[in-house]
């Protein structure tokens, strides 16, 4: 290339040509390059080379047809010129040109240094996360950093620069308002802070917190407004989430059926938060206690507890205050109206979301008043059933499917009848302990049968008391409805020992009556046979003899007839006596008093008689008659008495018959069929017969015969 002269070089520089171009022209080297030395590069503490644009460059070095000339001023390195090595043959030219541009080089280096500084800050600006936006006083965006471009929803700065900031950062719905406010801020545009929410060019919703400050010119006029912003979309989102979470928690807290109340660690009821004087309790709690909030806040929770004699409520709160969950406590809480309800509650340590304290105590519980009432009712019902069971005359006990008695599973009748103490009963095998060993297998089979599903049936078995007494029991075994995991059976039994004895007695009495009847009939037949019949037989034989002698020996015949008449008279007498023995006609015809007078008259000792003369029912008259007749017969046979006394009279709806003698006494009503027969006859009429016969004290027979209308 053609070289320009030194003078041309100076003129070009004065005309503002770039230094490198001027040097290249003067030295005729197209590839010529200039580098400047900066003692301290921006953002570092070291020196380094930059190109004329301020961009960092490497250390200039010779080689490959190039040479480097360092330019210094007063011993200080300023610049380096990279030139064609062919120029090394013309050192005078090089020195002359360098000298000519010395001042220009220093100026150009200063510019490169400024450019490097701007580039550094540009880098910083574009790499900070904060948003930086500069707008002019008309609201147009003049500059903005990469972060601001991104928040605005764009990719390149030039897409945004020059547009009004409200078109970029404000939602359409708010733009008019923002424009108006911007106008009111002019011309001072005081510094301010605000937050805005908008949907950016990409359609993302952003939340930005801005700080603005005006930029003044040398006259103090505002020429631009700088806004620094922070994208708080995420932070706000988290805040919202937290708030929603708190809302959910609050809703749950409020709508829980459990009572909840927050206490400070000393046990006082807390307010909800600083701005909210409402009590820190949920609706369930407030509904239950019904105290106004102002009376609850600051009050000790324990004031509401009706009584805490064992200190469990206080201890529960202390436990939670110390950071542990308390055990469950049952307390009555006092309402504002003076009533109280029962709660089961526990105290839980919780964090204080308001941040005023590090820990709170949450009392959380359930209203069990109703359950408690039902429990009490159940208890009463159970007590009632127990009372019934214990007062029932039947023996009751509970056994399992193996026949094992449950603890306390027997009523009082069972214990008393079988002579066991209550604690001796549980665990016993029913048929082994309470049943006569000879019938244990029977009873066992019956119970196991019911356990296997057979229909319960009443059975009679012999049971055994602790002392070995045998009792006749009518009993059944019935499965009970399942009330827990066990299947239980109810054994009910009735002690029929006495009934059985009475039955046996009745049967024996009937048998005796039948036998007595039989004996009486046999006696009657014997009497007829031995008495009247024999006399009639003899009479018959005698008459036949008379017939055969009538013709031959009339004298003998007459004697025979005389004997026959005597025989006949005696036969008639015996028949009359016999008939009276069967049933005295006088009793039927004239009544008890007359009949007794006859008996008294025929007795071989004096009998004093006292009896009413009115008629009674035939049954009673006959029974009374036979009591007196048999008694007097006994007196005559055994008592060796000198006299007897018979009284008959009405006493309390009964006819009382007594026969007293002054004989030897010692009569035993168990011995001899006569008295026992009388007792049976009296028992048929539901009467009683008593015999009082001390040795040598005489005998009194007393019969009481109920009189029926």
């Amino acid at each position: 290339m053609n070289r320009a002269s030194i003078s041309e070089l100076v003129v070009a520089l004065e005309n503002g040509a770039p230094l490198r171009d001027a040097l290249a022209s003067a030295l005729g080297d197209d590839r010529l390059a200039v580098f400047y030395w900066l003692d301290q590069r921006q953002g570092t503490s070291r020196g380094g080379w930059v190109d004329p644009h301020g961009h960092a460059a490497g250390e200039p070095s010779a080689g490959d047809g190039r040479s480097v000339k360092l330019v210094e001023n007063d011993g200080t390195r300023i610049a380096a010129i990279d030139y064609d090595a062919a120029l090394d043959g013309e050192p005078e030219l090089l020195d002359a040109v360098t000298a000519a541009v010395g001042l220009a080089l220093r100026n150009d280096r200063l510019q490169a240094e400024l450019r490097a500084e701007v580039a550094f800050w540009d880098t910083v600006t574009n790499t900070v996360p904060s948003l930086l936006v500069t707008v002019d006083t008309d609201g147009a965006i003049r500059n903005l950093n990469a972060a601001a471009v991104d928040v605005a929803g764009y990719g390149e700065k030039h897409e945004v620069v020059g547009r009004d900031y409200w078109d970029v950062f404000i939602d359409p719905s708010e733009r008019a308002e923002v424009v108006a406010r911007f106008a009111t801020l002019a011309p001072a545009f005081p510094a301010g802070e605000y937050e805005n929410v908008f949907v950016n060019a990409r359609g993302d919703r952003r939340v930005v917190s801005w700080r603005t400050a005006p930029v003044h010119d040398e006259n103090g006029d505002v020429i631009a407004i700088v806004s620094g912003g922070a994208d708080i979309t995420m932070r706000r989102k988290r805040e919202l989430e937290l708030e929603r979470e708190r809302d959910v928690q609050t809703t749950v807290f409020e709508s829980m059926p459990s009572i909840m109340v927050a206490l400070t660690r000393d046990g006082t009821i807390r307010d909800r938060d600083v701005d909210n004087p409402r009590v820190g309790a949920n609706r369930a709690f407030r509904r239950v206690v019904r105290w106004p909030d102002e009376e609850l806040v600051g009050r000790s929770f324990l004031d509401l507890v009706v009584e805490d004699e064992d200190g469990r409520a206080a201890r529960a709160i202390e436990t939670a205050a110390a950071g542990d969950m308390s055990e469950e406590v049952e307390s009555e809480l006092r309402s504002a109206d003076g009533s109280s309800r029962v709660f089961v509650w526990s105290a839980i340590p919780i964090a204080d979301v308001t941040g005023r304290m590090d820990r709170l105590v949450l009392v959380c519980g359930a209203d069990i008043t109703e359950r408690k009432r039902l429990e009490v009712e159940n208890e009463l019902e159970r007590a009632f059933l127990n009372a019934i069971a214990n007062n029932a005359p039947s023996l009751l006990c509970l056994i399992d499917a193996d026949g094992v008695m449950t603890e306390r599973g027997a009523n009082i009748a069972f214990e008393r009848t079988l002579e066991y103490d209550p604690e001796e009963i549980g665990g016993q095998v029913f048929w082994e302990t309470f049943v006569d060993p000879s019938e244990a297998d029977d009873v066992r089979a019956a119970v196991l049968g019911v356990a296997a599903g057979e229909a319960p049936a009443e059975r009679d078995n012999t049971w055994m008391t602790k002392s070995g007494r045998l009792l006749s029991m009518a009993w059944t075994c019935t499965p009970l409805p399942r009330i827990d995991e066990r299947t239980l059976f109810l054994v009910t039994a009735l002690d029929i020992t006495e009934r059985k004895r009475a039955d046996d007695e009745l049967r024996a009495s009937r048998t005796r009556l039948v036998r007595a009847e039989e004996t009486a009939r046999r006696g009657l037949e014997r009497n007829l046979h031995d008495g009247a019949q024999q006399r009639l037989v003899a009479l018959s034989v005698a008459l036949r003899l008379v017939e055969s002698r009538l013709d031959t020996d009339s004298e003998a015949a007459r004697e025979l007839l005389t004997g026959a008449q005597t025989e006949l008279a005696q036969a008639l007498g015996e028949l009359r006596e016999l008939a009276r023995g069967i049933h005295p006609a006088v009793l039927t015809d004239r009544g008890l008093r007359a009949a007794l007078e006859t008996l008294a008259a025929r007795a071989p000792f004096p009998v004093e008689l006292e009896a009413p003369s009115d008629r009674l029912s035939a049954d009673v008259e006959a029974a009374a008659y036979y009591v007196v007749a048999e008694s007097l017969t006994n007196v005559a046979r055994y008592a060796r008495a000198t006299s007897a006394r018979v009284t008959v009279g009405r006493v309390d709806g009964s006819l009382v018959v007594t026969v007293t003698d002054d004989g030897v006494g010692g009569a035993d009503p168990g011995q001899g069929s006569g008295l026992r027969g009388l007792a049976d006859r009296v028992a048929v009429l539901e009467g009683t017969l008593e015999v009082d016969s001390p040795p040598r004290g005489g005998t009194t027979i007393r019969a009481e015969l109920p009189l029926r209308d």
């Binding site: 046979h529 024999q534 037989v537 003899a538 034989v541 005698a542 036949r544 003899l545 055969s548 025979l560």
Partner: protein, 118 residues
């Protein structure tokens, strides 16, 4: 020689009537007994031709007495059972006994006894 008879009955009035009847018919009454226990010994000593034996004795029945007399070897004694009851009251007992006959007491007569002994 008249046939001999022994009367066994607990009722004196019947014994008296029977004795009068038998004697009127030509029997010689060699003895009277009122119970069954002594019959066997009396037969041994008195050796009657016929025993008039009451069925209902106080100590034993006439059938039992009759059975005892059957074992009595070497002698012939005829037993005639008498009773105030009817023959039908005793059923087969009379038939199976060793007695040669049964007479209701009311119908007792010498002819009847003679007929039974024939």
């Amino acid at each position: 020689m008249s046939p001999t008879a022994l009367i066994v009955d607990d009722h004196p009035s019947f014994r008296a009537s029977a004795r009068a009847m038998l004697e009127a018919e030509g029997f010689e009454v060699v003895g009277e007994l009122e119970d069954g226990a002594s019959v066997r010994a009396a037969v041994l000593t008195l050796d009657p031709d016929v025993v008039l034996l009451d069925v209902q004795l106080p100590d034993m029945s006439g059938f039992d007495v009759c059975a005892e007399l059957e074992d009595y070897a070497g002698r012939t004694v005829e037993v005639i059972l008498v009773s105030s009851r009817d023959l039908s009251d005793y059923g087969e007992l009379v038939e199976t006994s060793c007695a040669c006959g049964f007479v209701p007491k009311g119908e007792l007569s010498g002819d009847l006894i003679t007929a039974l002994l024939a």
